[in-house]
C-alpha cells in the first residue's frame, strides 16, 4: 500500500502544487483579515501575551504558506513582520502606534502581493522594501525614529497605502529586465546636502542592496549630490529607502547603462518627452520641479530612461492611472468562482438532513412492499425514483466532506525539495496511506500543523549530509508521512531518521525560559515542553523554523480538533510525531454482524475472514479461555454475546459464525450469530453526548434509523491478551 515519492519525481510535483494555491490564498486572506482585526483592537497599554501571540501566529502562518508555495516577496515581508511581533511577544520591545501602523500597512501590501500572485501577475505587486526597512528599524529598537524619517515616512505613506494597482509602470519594465542595474542617482534642491550622504550608510547597512559611490565626473550644484549605484532593487524600492533621509521630490534616478531595457513606451515615458525638452535647457538638478507638480521631469536627452522621481501627493493620481487601467484585464484571469467556502456547520446540517431523508425513504420503501404492484404501479415507480434520488443525493452530500489524505500529502514533496535545497540537506520523502479518507474540515485544519511538523523534521531533525555520514548514517535522510485509521481514530505520523531531540538541551532551554522543570521528568513530559509558546532549541532563527512558534500552533490546532500529539524521540536516531484525531465524521467500510437481536458494526479493514465454526475446532485452555485453530494457527476466541451481555430470548440459537479480525498486529476470532452485510457507515461520536464505552469506538445510524455500535477491534484484541 505504501507508495514512495522521491522528491526528484520532477514536474509532476510542481504541477500538483498549484491546486492548493487557491486554498492558500483563502487561508492567507483570512489570516491577514484576522491579524488586522486583532491589530486594530490591540490596546497598546495593556496588550496581553495572548493577543500578541495571536497576531504573531497569523503572520507566521502566512509566512509559512508563502514560503511553501514559493511566494518569496510575501514570505520576506511577513518574515520581517514576524520578527517585530516576536520581539513584542517576548516583551523586548513595547508596542507603539507606529508599529501598529507599519504592521497594518504590511498586511495591506501582503494582501496586494497575494492578489498579484493569484492573478498570475508576478512581480507587479507593491514595493515592500520601504516597509521592510521600516520594520527593521523598529526591530532594531529605533523608537522613536529620527524626526526627519518620520516626516518622509509619512510622505511616502500614500504610495504604500495605495493598492497594487498603483505600481509604477516603470517598475513593470524593470522587473522584466531584472538583474544588476547601473544607475545614476541625483539628490537635488536639498536644504541640507549632508542628508544625502546618509544614503551611503543605507547601502552599507542593508546587505544585498548594492554598491554606491559618489559620482565623480561633471559638476555638481551646491545643493545637490550625485551618486553611482549598482543594485538589483527597483527604483520604487530605492525611492522608498531613500525616503528615510531625503524626500522623494528631491530624488532623481537615471539608468546609466541600458536605457533600451527600461523603455516603456506607454505611460509617463510618453509624457516625459514634453518637459524633457524644457529640462534639457536647464542644467540638471536645478529646481525645475518647482511649480510643476505632476509634470514628469527628465534629464539630458534620454527621456525614456529617465525615471520620474517626484511623487507629490497630487501627482500620485496621475501616476497610478496608467496601471489602474490594467487591473480590469487582470480581473478577468482570476479564478474566483471555482470554489465557495461554506461553514462546516451548514454542511453538517445538510448531511444530517439527508440522513433523515434516507431513513424516511427506507421507511416508505418498507411500508410500500405490501402494496399490490398492479394497483399502485405509479406510486411504486415514484418510490423507486425517490430511492435512487435520495441515494445519489446522499452520496453527493457525503462527498462534500470526504477527501483523501493525498490532497494534503502532495503538498509536501515540493516544499521539502525547496527546503532541503535551501538548507543543503538531502531528504527523501515517503508517504503511506494516502488513500485514507479524512473529513474535509479535518484536512483543512490538519494541513498547517502537518506543514510545521514536516518543516521541523527537515530543519531540525535531518542532519547535514556530512554530519549524517559522520554518524554512520546514509547521506540522504528520510522523512515519512503516514496516515491510517487506528482504533477509532486517524493517526497521522511524521517520522524522520534525523538526530532526534536532546533531552538535556530542552531542559536547559526550559530553565532559561523560567519553566518549572526537574531532571526527574519522564521523557514524554520533557518532549511535551516543546509545545510551550515561544519554545525553541534551535540556535539560529531561520525563516524556516526556530522561533518556537510551530509546535505551539501545532498543539493548539490539534487540540481544537479534540486530537492529541505524541512524540517519540531517540537522540541520534530520529523522532516520530503522531497526531491522533478522532473520527468525527469519517466514513468507514463496515461489516454488520448480528448477535442475538442486536447489530454491531466491525470495521471492514480489520476483518480478515469469516467462516462457519466446526464444533471440534474450539478448544479450551486453563480457566476456560477458548482457542480455535485456523489453518495451523491458534487464535483466542471472543464471544461478543458475553462481552456485550447480549440478552438471549431464543435459547436454541447460538453464535456459530467466526470472524477473524486483525488489529495491533495480532488476530482474534469473534463469535457472532450471523453476518448481515457490508456497508459504508458514518462514524458518529458516542462521547459527545454520552461517554466512552469499553470496546466500542463509536456509533452509526443504520438504514432503519436505529443506532448500531461500532466495535473497537484494537480494544478487543488487547482484551484477549489480558
Amino acid at each position: 500500500m505504501a507508495e514512495v515519492h522521491h522528491e526528484s519525481s520532477g514536474s509532476g510535483a510542481d504541477f500538483d502544487l498549484s491546486q492548493f494555491y487557491q486554498i492558500f490564498f483563502e487561508e492567507a486572506g483570512e489570516n491577514l483579515d484576522l491579524m488586522e482585526q486583532m491589530l486594530l483592537s490591540l490596546n497598546l497599554e495593556t496588550a496581553d501575551d495572548e493577543e500578541l501571540n495571536g497576531i504573531f501566529r497569523c503572520a507566521h502562518s502566512v509566512k509559512g504558506g508563502a514560503a511553501t508555495f514559493g511566494f518569496s516577496d510575501v514570505a520576506e515581508l511577513t518574515h520581517q513582520m514576524e520578527s517585530l511581533l516576536d520581539k513584542l511577544r517576548r516583551h523586548e520591545l513595547k508596542p507603539n502606534a507606529s508599529m501598529v501602523d507599519v504592521l497594518l500597512e504590511s498586511a495591506d501590501s501582503s494582501r496586494a502581493l497575494l492578489a498579484c500572485h493569484q492573478s498570475g501577475q508576478v512581480g507587479q505587486g507593491p514595493a515592500t522594501a520601504n516597509l521592510v526597512s521600516r520594520i527593521r528599524a523598529l526591530v532594531a529598537g529605533e523608537i522613536p525614529p529620527p524626526p526627519a524619517a518620520i516626516k518622509v515616512a509619512e510622505l511616502a505613506k500614500p504610495v504604500v497605502d495605495s493598492p497594487a494597482s498603483a505600481t509604477a509602470p516603470a517598475e513593470l519594465a524593470e522587473s522584466a529586465s531584472g538583474g544588476m542595474r547601473h544607475l545614476e542617482v541625483r539628490f537635488i534642491n536639498l536644504d541640507q546636502p549632508a542628508q544625502a550622504d546618509a544614503v551611503v550608510e543605507l547601502f552599507r547597512d542593508i546587505a544585498g542592496l548594492g554598491e554606491i559611490k559618489p559620482h565623480t565626473s561633471g559638476e555638481v550644484a551646491a545643493d545637490s549630490r550625485v551618486f553611482e549605484v549598482e543594485t538589483t532593487s527597483s527604483n520604487e524600492d530605492l525611492l522608498d529607502l531613500f525616503a528615510f533621509h531625503v524626500s522623494r521630490e528631491h530624488v532623481v534616478i537615471r539608468d546609466m547603462v541600458s536605457p533600451e531595457l527600461l523603455g516603456d513606451p506607454q505611460g509617463p515615458a510618453g509624457e516625459q518627452s514634453l518637459p524633457a525638452q524644457d529640462a534639457a535647457t536647464a542644467s540638471p538638478g536645478f529646481g525645475f520641479f518647482d511649480g510643476a507638480p505632476g509634470a514628469p521631469p527628465a534629464h539630458d536627452q534620454t527621456p525614456e530612461s529617465a525615471l520620474l522621481a517626484t511623487q507629490p501627493m497630487d501627482s500620485g493620481v496621475a501616476k497610478s492611472s496608467p496601471s489602474a487601467a490594467k487591473v480590469p484585464v487582470a480581473g478577468n484571469m482570476q479564478p474566483e468562482a471555482a470554489t465557495i467556502r461554506v461553514a462546516i456547520s451548514k454542511v453538517d446540517q445538510l448531511i444530517n438532513l439527508v440522513g433523515e431523508l434516507v431513513i424516511t425513504q427506507a421507511m416508505l420503501a418498507q411500508n410500500s412492499r405490501a402494496l399490490d404492484p398492479a394497483v399502485y404501479q405509479q406510486l411504486l415507480t415514484g418510490l423507486t425514483d425517490l430511492d435512487r434520488n435520495t441515494r445519489d443525493l446522499q452520496e453527493s452530500v457525503m462527498s462534500i466532506r470526504m477527501i483523501p489524505m493525498s490532497i494534503v500529502f502532495s503538498r509536501f514533496p515540493r516544499m521539502l525539495r525547496d527546503l532541503a535545497g535551501k538548507l543543503g540537506k538531502k531528504v527523501d520523502f515517503v508517504t503511506q496511506g494516502e488513500a485514507t479518507e479524512l473529513d474535509k474540515g479535518l484536512v483543512e485544519k490538519i494541513t498547517d500543523p502537518l506543514t510545521h511538523l514536516v518543516r521541523n523534521s527537515c530543519d531540525h531533525g535531518i542532519e547535514s549530509p556530512q554530519d549524517r555520514i559522520h554518524a554512520g548514517k546514509p547521506e540522504t535522510g528520510t522523512i515519512t508521512l503516514s496516515a491510517a485509521h487506528q482504533g477509532g481514530s486517524i493517526v497521522i505520523e511524521v517520522r524522520d531518521d534525523g538526530k532526534g531531540m536532546s533531552r538535556q538541551k530542552i531542559l536547559t532551554k526550559a530553565r532559561e525560559r523560567g519553566l518549572d522543570v526537574s531532571d526527574q521528568m519522564s521523557d514524554a513530559e520533557v518532549w511535551q515542553l516543546i509545545f510551550a509558546p515561544g519554545f525553541s532549541t534551535a540556535e539560529v532563527v531561520t525563516d524556516v523554523s526556530g522561533r518556537g512558534v510551530g509546535m505551539d500552533v501545532v498543539k493548539r490546532n490539534i487540540a481544537s480538533l479534540n486530537g492529541t500529539v505524541e512524540i517519540e524521540s531517540s537522540e541520534g536516531y530520529g523522532m516520530k510525531v503522531s497526531v491522533r484525531l478522532p473520527l468525527t465524521l469519517a466514513i468507514m467500510d463496515g461489516m454488520s454482524v448480528g448477535v442475538g437481536n442486536e447489530v454491531y458494526i466491525l470495521p471492514l479493514s480489520s476483518v480478515v475472514e469469516s467462516f462457519q465454526v466446526r464444533s471440534d475446532a474450539v478448544s479450551t485452555v486453563g480457566q476456560g479461555a477458548q482457542l480455535v485453530k485456523v489453518r495451523d494457527e491458534y487464535m483466542p476466541v471472543i464471544e461478543l454475546e458475553k462481552v456485550f451481555q447480549v440478552p438471549r430470548y431464543d435459547s436454541d440459537k447460538t453464535s456459530d459464525i467466526m470472524v477473524v479480525i486483525e488489529a495491533d498486529g495480532s488476530r482474534v476470532v469473534l463469535l457472532v450469530d450471523e453476518l448481515l452485510g457490508q456497508q459504508q457507515v458514518v462514524v458518529k461520536n458516542l462521547e459527545s453526548n454520552y461517554r466512552k464505552v469499553p470496546n466500542v469506538s463509536g456509533a452509526t445510524i443504520l438504514g432503519d434509523g436505529k443506532v448500531a455500535l461500532i466495535l473497537d477491534t484494537g480494544a478487543l484484541v488487547r482484551r484477549s491478551r489480558h
Partner: protein, 158 residues
Amino acid sequence: MDKTNEESNAKLCEYLTFRLDREEYGIDILKVQEIRGYEPPTRIANAPPFIKGVVNLRGTIVPIVEMRLKFNCANAQYDDFTVVIILNLHKRIVGIVVDSVSDVMGLVPEQMRAAPEIESIINSDAIIGLGSLSDRMLILLDIEKLMSDADMGLVADV
C-alpha cells in the same frame, strides 16, 4: 397571575411538569429541547440499568435515561403516553423517559417552598424546592445537576 406585577414577573420561572408514577416533577423549561414519543433505544452493554441506551435524534446519538428506574418507581411500562423529554444541558443532549408530560407552569417565588431534609433516592442538592399549587405538589429538579452526577454515568469518570 392577576396580582403579579412587573417585579415578580421578572422572577417568574417556567417549569415543564411531568409525572413519574404518582409523583409530579418540574424542570426548567429552558433546558428542554423537545418532547418525543418513546422508541426502543439501542442497548449499551455494561451501562447502569436506568440508561436504556442510545437513540438517533436526527443524526445525533443521544443517550436515554429511564427516570422511573432511576427514581425506583414500582412499574415502568411503555405505552402511548410514555414520552422522552430531550434536554439540552451544557451542550450535551440527553433524553429522559417519563410517564407523561402534564403542562408548562409559571411559578412565582411565593409559590415555592424550600424542600425539607428528607431521605430520598434523589440527591438533595438536585432538588431546588417544592412548588405548591393548591392541592398539588411539584418537585422542582435541578436537572442539570442531577444529570451531571457521577452516579448517572453519563459523563466519563476521570
